[in-house]
Amino acid sequence: MFDISSLSLSYVVDTPEGVAIKLPVAGLWSRSAAWMIDLLIRGGVYIFLAIVLSITGLFGQGILLIVIFTLEWFYPVFYEVLNNGKTPGKKIIGIKVVNTNGSQLDWGASMTRNIIRFIDMLPLVYGVGFISVLLSRHSQRIGDIVAGTIVIYDNHDNTGSLESPMFSGLNNITAYKSFITDLSLDERRAFIAFAERFDSLSVPRKEELISIISPVLKKYNLNDDIKAIKQISESVINSK
């Protein structure tokens, strides 16, 4: 069987405490969406200030220019350093920036990635950054690569909380023993992951996932409908 980790988008950090943490790397679309929200927020501030300050003449325009300068270059820096890697847009989307060792950004790293933004914005609307995110192994734009930072999901999926279905207890099924003992470790994991994500997957997606293994199930004369697979998955968990 091929190595599943080669498909994964995780970035693995080895901590001094001897465990490996997997950082779930955020992709192009969540990053773009967060950027778009931040852009709207900044735009809103500019328009609001432009209207309010228009009564004060050139002095107000000067203040407006200073605010634009500060926000265009330092809005991400302030939030990334002081708000745990999250600009408001990133917070809404659920992603954040961290160093590639998993720690929070300092001023130098954040400034580097945000000044290099100038290169990512070339030639038009983030052309370079777009290509860089698509091509780099961990979805980094040029600024991320230079600063040694990475954008990750803050809370990858609902399995990351105590309320997830895993903790509410699963049916204790001990059938399918002969089938389960034939499974490799990775295959067992796949079944378990399926059971745990069962409630968060849509029906078509479940069917799609099941269609991958249905030839194997047929060999064992097992049913390949959704309910049966769920039962198999739950019994895999309880077989340990």
């Binding site: 001023w107 400034m111 040029i142």
Partner: protein, 316 residues
């Protein structure tokens, strides 16, 4: 141990872990709790517990990790340290590449100034007639204020304008260093030639007094800031062309770390230059001799600062 039993046994502990992290009190318990969680994650992985449980522990460990390994900085102290030690120190450490950047910038500046001074007609190779008329207008000695035209309360406007414009030039010069350094070289040469042409032109038409009166105050900070940005950009370029024993990516990351103090210094210089340019340089009421004296004094103080500040090693 079965996973369900394990969860039963530990879930209360995990709840307190979550609370400990979010409450921000009892910080002294964080390291010990973090070690226990790391251990539990390792146990869960070796016992092949389900991805859901492992994800949950991963997330908890990651949150603790980023909390514990974060750099805590004292704003005021780090700012003071930066100007007292880091900035002049790192400039001296990289004096060779700063010399290269300064040469790329000041040499064409002086050359074009001289050429245009002796052969004023060459100015038309560089600038259009309308642009020249604008410039001539800005430095007309009969103006109430020098520089760009403005209303009475225009000082703040000009401050914002110079801040945005000049700092952006600096940032561009730095970032363009990623193009194997050629981008920085281009911006240094381009700005050097451009500033030199204007200086030469204004001197050649006999506006030298109003020109020097205007630029003397902020020239030191602004020109040095451009050279600093260029030097920082060249450091990026150098790491790509000659990464030494490192992979290019690693070399680039290290170069960016080393270049950052120069860039932060350049930023502060741009800020000071914009303030001087907006509030001091343009005033016509101050005597020429005072302005020139202040200008020369600032040049000398910056030179002294770079040469002597941060000599006593703080690490001792």
């Amino acid at each position: 141990m079965n996973q369900a039993e394990y969860i039963n046994q530990q879930s209360n502990f995990w709840k307190t872990c979550e609370q400990l992290l979010s409450s921000g009190t009892n910080r002294s318990e964080l390291p010990e709790t973090y070690r226990v969680l790391s251990h539990q994650l390792a146990v869960a992985e070796s016992r092949n517990y389900s991805p859901g449980l492992i994800n949950y522990l991963q997330k908890l460990v990651l949150d603790y990790h980023s909390q514990l390994y974060r750099q805590r900085t004292n704003w005021f102290l780090s700012l003071w340290l930066f100007f007292y030690d880091t900035f002049p120190h790192s400039l001296r450490e990289n004096y060779k590449i700063f010399a290269v950047a300064a040469t790329l910038f000041f040499l064409p500046l002086i050359l074009t100034t001289t050429i245009i001074f002796f052969y004023p007609e060459y100015v038309y190779y560089f600038l259009s007639i309308e642009k020249l008329a604008d410039i001539k207008d800005m430095y007309n000695p009969e103006n109430a204020v020098l520089g760009r035209e403005r209303a009475e309360d225009g000082d703040w406007y000009m401050f914002g304008f110079y801040l945005y414009n000049n700092t952006s030039i600096g940032f561009r010069t730095f970032a363009a260093g990623l193009l194997m350094g050629f981008g920085s070289v281009f911006f240094l040469l381009f700005n050097g030639v451009f500033i030199g042409v204007i200086a030469g032109y204004l001197i050649s038409i006999g506006y030298s007094e109003s020109f020097f009166s205007f630029v003397s105050g902020h020239s030191s900070f602004e020109l040095i800031a451009i050279a600093l940005s260029g030097a920082a950009g060249l450091m990026l370029g150098r790491s790509l062309i000659n990464p030494g024993n490192l992979k290019r990516k690693l070399a680039l990351q290290q170069a960016a770390k080393l270049a950052m103090p120069l860039m932060q210094g350049a930023m502060s210089f741009f800020f000071i230059a914009a303030a001087i340019e907006a509030f001091w340089s343009s005033s016509q009421s101050t005597m020429f001799i005072i302005k020139i004296t202040v200008g020369i004094f600032l040049w000398l103080s910056i030179a002294g600062y770079f040469l002597f500040a941060g000599r006593n090693n703080l690490a001792k």
